[in-house]
Symmetry: C2
Subunit: 600 residues, 2 copies
């Protein structure tokens, strides 16, 4: 049971992320019209609800299966759902038109991607990874490679994977050992023979597409040590002839798939390269520049995982609302016997605070997508600004949305009481599924290091203080708003800004001792997330109050927006203050702990 939250999405696009300004700035106002956006979202919502969402719970129960011959079968309905996405043109949404893509701005595609991920996160991961590879190839592959590999992926006939991790090389890619030896042949041209083992390869083997294109990090024999000696290769499951038809099976095989806590519908493969003659791979870009190429797509991939945090939270919320509207238990205070449990004050609190945080997440994601659109396609003079802004927002979006998805899905379980602990109900699945999100595509600590060192210390706080000043200015305006919820929200955010500035100055002042800055990083990510959420919820409240004045206003919807904003200020925003306190007081305390004191 899933219904795409189209009204919320439209509200965020039109009133919080200001899509019309974005499409004007990137000169797309003529093709990305309100009607088109409306149609896109509506159709995505239908496909998600009718075809994809029904596979979510069953996919979790069955899981993907690995067979002795190396095949992997996905749960019932997955292949059909992917086929349906392909037929609807959805697999082509984000890519450039010259390869068959639809070149949709990210501010729109982010909202569509939320819908797929809510419908079935384990399933939609395949699309997410394929999009990531399409993005990387568009940016870094040769024209010949793009023409050969991109169209079938955009048509949904082939899918893509990212092969980074090895048992000894997870967060630390410098430790990669997979080998790539250059060679030539008449049939294959210049290519490399790849050998080694890759782990945690999402959709590394499956039965949803004709071919799988692996993007693989490996080392040539004479490469320098560490991260400067890593190259990236295209390694197709089936070799691809010059005319695009499939050739021989390549020497890459799925050894096993992992037994995971969640996203069980998705196969997480251990891939063995080069058991025989070596897998045939083709270099992307230049040798030893692999990490740069991967980093080029990192913002995109991290943003996508942040969206998953929003998506699984939304799905958990819908399930919790459904249950709370239906389940009767006890007589709510001030209510009547037979009233559903939504009328119990604590259940109402849980659901209202879930909804408030989810709306803040969605607003921040849309604003982040818009920043990326402006960075790539906005006026030349503004691109550097938006590039900096997007770079600042991405670790916050990835870190905050995914960490909070743990809490939101946990609250979803809590609403169900004992039924939440029974797998049949489905609430527990969201809780399990979400747990991967603060881990993959860079753990929260990695986002934190990015935010602290690259995005804050490197420019001595310039980008982040510019961002805070903008929020400040907007809040000064909103503090004079006639609607009391808007005015008090603006004042709450202004208070939070002061706490945030103290915390950031503390981090800047400890720049000469990077271990202190690093200790505060995760709390800093969370602080910025809560603050940015507050900023956009205040804006959301102001827009709702404004629209309430219009004739024929959707009063219930807009009043609910004011309530969620108010509730955000009361229940989520105070975390800025607490986290600032932790940053100010907590770094020395932690670093005083000696690891050898921890055992015995």
């Amino acid at each position: 049971m899933y219904t795409a939250p189209l009204k919320d999405i439209q509200f965020v696009l039109n009133h919080v992320a200001d899509i019309n300004k974005v499409t004007a700035a990137i000169n797309r106002q003529d093709d990305i019209t309100p009607d088109l956006v409306d149609a896109v979202l509506t159709e995505a919502g239908k496909l998600a609800a009718d075809v994809i969402a029904p596979t979510n719970h069953t996919g979790d129960q069955t899981g993907s299966r690995h067979h002795e011959d190396g095949r992997v079968t996905t749960p019932a309905g997955f292949a059909e759902a992917y086929q349906a996405m392909a037929e609807g043109g959805w697999t082509a949404m984000d890519a450039a038109e010259e390869y068959g893509g639809q070149n949709m701005p990210m501010v729109v595609s982010s909202m569509v991607n939320e819908i797929w991920q809510s419908a079935n996160m384990a399933f939609a991961l395949c699309h997410l990874l394929t999009q990531g590879q399409v993005y990387a190839l568009q940016k870094s592959a040769s024209e010949e490679q793009k023409n050969l590999y991109l169209p079938p992926m955009l048509e949904g006939r082939w899918t893509g994977t990212m092969n980074l991790t090895e048992p000894q090389a997870g967060t630390d890619l410098a430790a990669i050992k997979t080998k790539a030896v250059k060679t030539e042949s008449d049939a294959l041209g210049t290519h490399y023979r790849i050998s080694g083992q890759k782990i945690y390869i999402t959709y590394g083997e499956h039965d949803m597409a004709e071919n799988i294109i692996h993007l693989v990090l490996a080392r040539t024999p004479d490469a320098p040590e560490g991260v400067k000696g890593i190259s990236v290769f295209i390694v197709p499951k089936f070799l691809v002839n010059a005319d695009g038809s499939l050739g021989e099976r390549n020497d890459v095989h799925c050894v096993s798939i992992e037994k995971k806590l969640g996203i069980k519908g998705s196969p997480t493969a251990v891939l063995s390269y080069g058991d025989n003659e070596g897998a045939v791979g083709y270099l992307v870009g230049e040798e030893n520049r692999g990490l740069e190429i991967m980093f080029g797509m990192m913002n995109h991939a991290r943003f996508s995982v942040g969206l998953q945090g929003l998506a699984v939270s939304e799905r958990a919320l819908q399930q919790a609302i459904g249950y709370a509207m239906d389940r009767k238990q006890g007589t709510p205070l001030g209510g009547q016997s037979g009233d559903a449990i939504i009328n119990h004050p604590d259940v109402l609190r849980i659901i209202t605070t879930m909804k408030a945080e989810i709306e803040a997440m969605r607003a921040l994601a849309a604003v982040g997508g818009a920043a990326m659109d402006l960075a790539h396609g906005g006026a030349e003079a503004d691109r550097a600004f938006w590039d900096e802004r997007a770079a600042l927002l991405v670790p916050i979006i990835k870190g905050w949305l995914t960490e909070r998805s743990l809490a939101v899905t946990s609250l979803g379980v809590q609403v169900h009481g004992g039924m939440g602990f029974i797998e049949e109900t489905g609430a527990a699945q969201h809780y399990r599924d979400a747990r991967i999100l603060p881990i993959y595509e860079g753990t929260t600590a990695i986002q934190a290091n990015d935010l602290v060192f690259r995005k804050t210390l490197r420019d001595e706080g310039k980008a982040v203080f510019t961002f805070l000043d903008e929020i400040d200015a907007e809040m000064i305006t909103l503090a004079g708003n006639d609607h009391p919820v808007v005015a008090s929200a603006a004042m709450a955010v202004t208070d939070a800004l002061a706490d945030a500035r103290l915390a950031i100055n503390h981090i800047l002042s400890s720049a000469n001792d990077p271990r202190r800055s690093a200790v505060s990083g995760s709390n800093y990510v969370m602080l910025m997330g809560y603050l940015a959420g507050g900023w956009l919820m205040a804006r959301s409240a102001a827009k709702a109050a404004e629209q309430l004045e219009a004739d024929g206003a959707d009063e219930n919807f807009l009043n609910a927006k004011l309530v969620t904003a108010d509730s955000y200020m009361g229940h989520a925003l105070p975390q800025v203050m607490a986290l600032a306190r932790s940053i100010l007081a907590g770094d020395d305390a932690v670093l005083a702990m000696r690891p050898d004191w921890l055992q015995g």
Copy 2:
């Protein structure tokens, strides 16, 4: 891999909960000697580590199994482990001596119970439930019933269950429908025929003991409606002859067991009573007084579940420390290649903050256990005071320890990175297992209602303000401590007390609108937990600083205690401020949400 944290437990007992004062006050100083306590904890630690802990992961993988004939088999090793507990006399620890018990004070038995629950929570649940029933029968059953049923349970030959929930009656016990019809026979004496269905019956059927004694809530035909018409019955799986030998199989059968998110080793049964002639049951106490009897053991049971929150957190911490000491990945800032990941500042932060919260949990549990001992066995003149104190602490201990166990076990997963998401590692199991704790034995909302309505509004805040004044007085003394960590901890707690008072006064001032008080309840429980944790961590720091002055002091251990206290003040205590803000600003916001606005 589990090692009982004996040094921490001893420190808490001797220096935080002041066990010598407790045993003196209850006149047990001669039998509960330091040597005895030491021996008890050491032996429990051995049994837990050697026999019980190894069944934890395998038990999760296998799960309990239901067979067509109604039998339930527990995972390999469970029956042997229960046998070992029985042989060691551990199943008799808490009960009165006249029935074969050891009459151990709760301040000690709580620490022993932490050890069992850490070793294998799914397994130790059987003991927890049996203890609960022993407690209830001791308090409310007839002498004849006690003599018949208690000894075999204390010998570990029989186990006990609590049968409250029915599909329509979870939190709301007023809705119970199970029937009990009074009758007589020569063979069975005065008894009742019980019929109905009970769900969520932990260890409702299993193969670890000869007999299972169900304590069942049911209604007699002429009983008043609602909670005033509920009676409680002893319903043995096998009827018990007057000489204690087993008679016929009773008419109660296990229909199925649940497929759960966690604690999979424990069977959660659906029990059907009276499929044939009606199950034979014996009334405990008087008719229609069942809920009172159950409430008489409620503090005990809720406290025990709070301990499970501590226990699973400790187990997750030990696993995380083990992994972080062993795993190498990247070069930590300021460290060297080959250093384990514990040296990464964010990993050190996670583990230090986990450890700090766990120490606070343990201290609060021990102090809560001591309060219950003093309430039952202290000087007559003081019992009312300690009874009130225990009644205040129990919902805080149940609510805070279990809610925080979700966060702590989640952090344990995070330390493992990608490996944390793979079930083989075991970190995910703790995360899954913990999720039941804020649900069963009264959800956090139920603890919150108890704390708000019965423990705060009813006496207009007298008990809670008395508690806060005590903390205040202690902090005033500690603020003058020579050790800077102690002094600053005391000042931090003093600040937090001011926030707590504001929040409580706000709740008191909204007493005329109980929906507002109820909205704040869960945040109030959490606020009080963080505050009480801060109180005891400040005390812990003071004691550690004092002992550091002694000759031959265990410097590493005591310095670590100072670090965890300091870290608690920086990373956990600021939540008091944030939660106070939520209580002050967040109740009206939530109640403004209309349930019908949540759909569409």
